[in-house]
C-alpha cells in the first residue's frame, strides 16, 4: 500500500479524550499479516478480548488505562507477547513483528 502510514488503522473519528486505544500492525518479514489473531490480556494475564487482523494486518482495541499484554498468534509463526502501557489521550501504536518458524 503505497503511502500508507506504518502502524495501526487511521484514528479519524476516534475520540482519544474518551477512549483508551491500543492498536497496531502485525508484520512478518516486513509484510503485513492479514490472518493473525491478537489477544488482549489484562495486567493479571487474564483474557479480555481478541480480534483478527484486517487484510492490511491492522488491529485495534478500546481498553482502559493501565498495563496490557498483546498476544499475537498467526499461521507458521511463533506466538509473540508484547507488554504495553495504555493511557487516555494518545493511542498506543505498536508494530508486532513475527518470526517465521
Amino acid at each position: 500500500m503505497c503511502g500508507a502510514t506504518r502502524g495501526g488503522p487511521s484514528l479519524d473519528g476516534v475520540d482519544l479524550e474518551k477512549e483508551t486505544v491500543i492498536q497496531g500492525i502485525v508484520t512478518k518479514e516486513g509484510e503485513p499479516v492479514g490472518n493473525a489473531y491478537v489477544r488482549l490480556l489484562d495486567a493479571t494475564g487474564e483474557f479480555t478480548a481478541e480480534v483478527p487482523t484486517s487484510a492490511t494486518g491492522q488491529f485495534r482495541f478500546f481498553a482502559a488505562p493501565g498495563d496490557w499484554t498483546l498476544r499475537t498468534l498467526a499461521p507458521r509463526a511463533a506466538t509473540v507477547d508484547r507488554v504495553v502501557s495504555a493511557q487516555r489521550g494518545s493511542a498506543v501504536d505498536v508494530e508486532v513483528a513475527l518470526a517465521a518458524v
Partner: protein, 282 residues
C-alpha cells in the same frame, strides 16, 4: 454426549468433509467471514437472521427451523459439524440450538475457524449446492433452556454461572467494548452467581481445555454437582460455549442456558442485582 461424540478435531474434519451424511456449518458473529473463505463444502447459518425471529425477541419457532434446514439441505440423519469465529461462541450457540430442536448427531469442531486458520488449512470461496430436504424438528427441549422466572427462583438455590468478563460481572461494563449495542438498563450480576469467564475454558488457539483442567476450573468456582445449573452471559452465546463445556464435555446433568441473559435480566423491574466482584447474597 461426551467429549468423544460432541467434539471433533480439525484432522477429523479434513478426513470426513466429503462424506455423504456429514454437513459442515459455519456460524459467525461476523457473517461476512464465510464469504471470504470457508471449509470446503460448508454452508452458512447467520446466527441472527436465520436463527432469531425477526419481530419478537425469541428464536425461530419449530416450523421456521424446519423450513430453514430443509431449504439449506440438512437432513434429520445428517451429522452436523459446526464451527465459527470468536472461539466458536456462535457455533456453540447453534449447537445448543440444534439440540434444543432435537437434532441427533451434532458436533463442534474443536478450535473452530481460528484453529483451522492457524493450522494453515484450506479455505475455499466456492459455495456448495445442496438439494432441499424435508426436515422435521422436535418440540423445543426446555430441559436445556432457562427462562427468567426460573432464573429468579434459582438465586441461592442452583448453581448460577456468569460467564462474562470480570468487569461485566462487577457492573463496571455493560458489554464487551466492541459490542456497544443491546445494553441492559443496569450493570451487575444475578446474586449468588459465580463468575467463570468463558475464556477460561479455552486455550489460546480456541480449542477446549482438557477435561481434567475443566473439572478443576469449575470445582474451584464452587460448582456443586448435586444442584441444577444455569449459565448466562449477555445475550446467550458465550454461555452456550460454557453450556457445551458443562453439559457435553463434562457431562454435568441438568445444565440450562439462559439465553435472555443479562440484556433481559438487567432490564427487569424488581429483581435483585449484585454489584462488585463477589457473588452477593440471596
Amino acid at each position: 454426549m461426551s467429549r468423544d461424540t460432541a467434539l471433533v478435531t480439525a484432522d477429523w474434519v479434513e478426513e470426513h468433509l466429503s462424506d455423504a451424511g456429514v454437513v459442515l456449518v459455519e456460524v459467525d458473529e461476523d457473517t461476512t467471514a464465510y464469504d471470504k473463505g470457508h471449509i470446503a463444502g460448508a454452508i452458512k447459518l447467520d446466527w441472527k437472521n436465520d436463527l432469531q425471529d425477526p419481530v419478537r425477541r425469541d428464536f425461530v419457532n419449530k416450523a421456521q427451523f424446519e423450513a430453514l434446514l430443509s431449504e439449506r439441505g440438512v437432513s434429520n440423519d445428517d451429522t452436523v459439524v459446526l464451527y465459527g469465529g470468536n472461539n466458536n461462541w456462535f457455533a456453540a450457540y447453534a449447537y445448543w440450538y440444534f439440540k434444543l430442536y432435537g437434532h441427533t448427531d451434532v458436533k463442534l469442531l474443536d478450535g473452530g475457524r481460528k484453529k483451522w486458520e492457524l493450522d494453515s488449512r484450506e479455505l475455499v470461496e466456492e459455495i456448495p449446492t445442496r438439494a432441499t430436504t424435508s426436515y422435521t424438528a422436535s418440540e423445543q427441549d426446555t430441559s436445556i433452556r432457562a427462562f427468567r422466572d426460573e432464573v429468579v427462583e434459582a438465586i441461592g438455590v442452583q448453581n448460577l454461572i456468569d460467564v462474562r468478563s470480570p468487569d461485566e460481572f462487577a457492573g463496571r461494563l455493560l458489554a464487551p467494548a466492541h459490542l456497544p449495542q443491546e445494553q441492559a438498563q443496569r450493570g451487575g450480576h444475578i446474586p449468588t452467581a459465580g463468575n467463570v469467564p468463558w475464556s477460561k475454558a479455552a486455550n489460546d488457539d480456541g480449542t477446549f481445555r482438557s477435561n481434567e483442567e475443566l473439572e478443576a476450573l469449575y470445582a474451584e468456582a464452587g460448582l456443586d454437582r448435586s444442584k441444577d445449573t444455569i449459565a448466562y452471559c449477555r445475550i446467550g452465546e458465550r454461555s452456550s460455549h460454557t453450556w457445551f463445556v458443562l453439559a457435553e464435555l463434562l457431562e454435568v446433568s441438568n445444565v440450562k442456558n439462559y439465553d435472555g441473559s443479562w440484556t433481559e435480566y438487567g432490564s427487569l423491574i424488581g429483581v435483585p442485582v449484585a454489584l462488585g466482584d463477589e457473588p452477593g447474597e440471596a
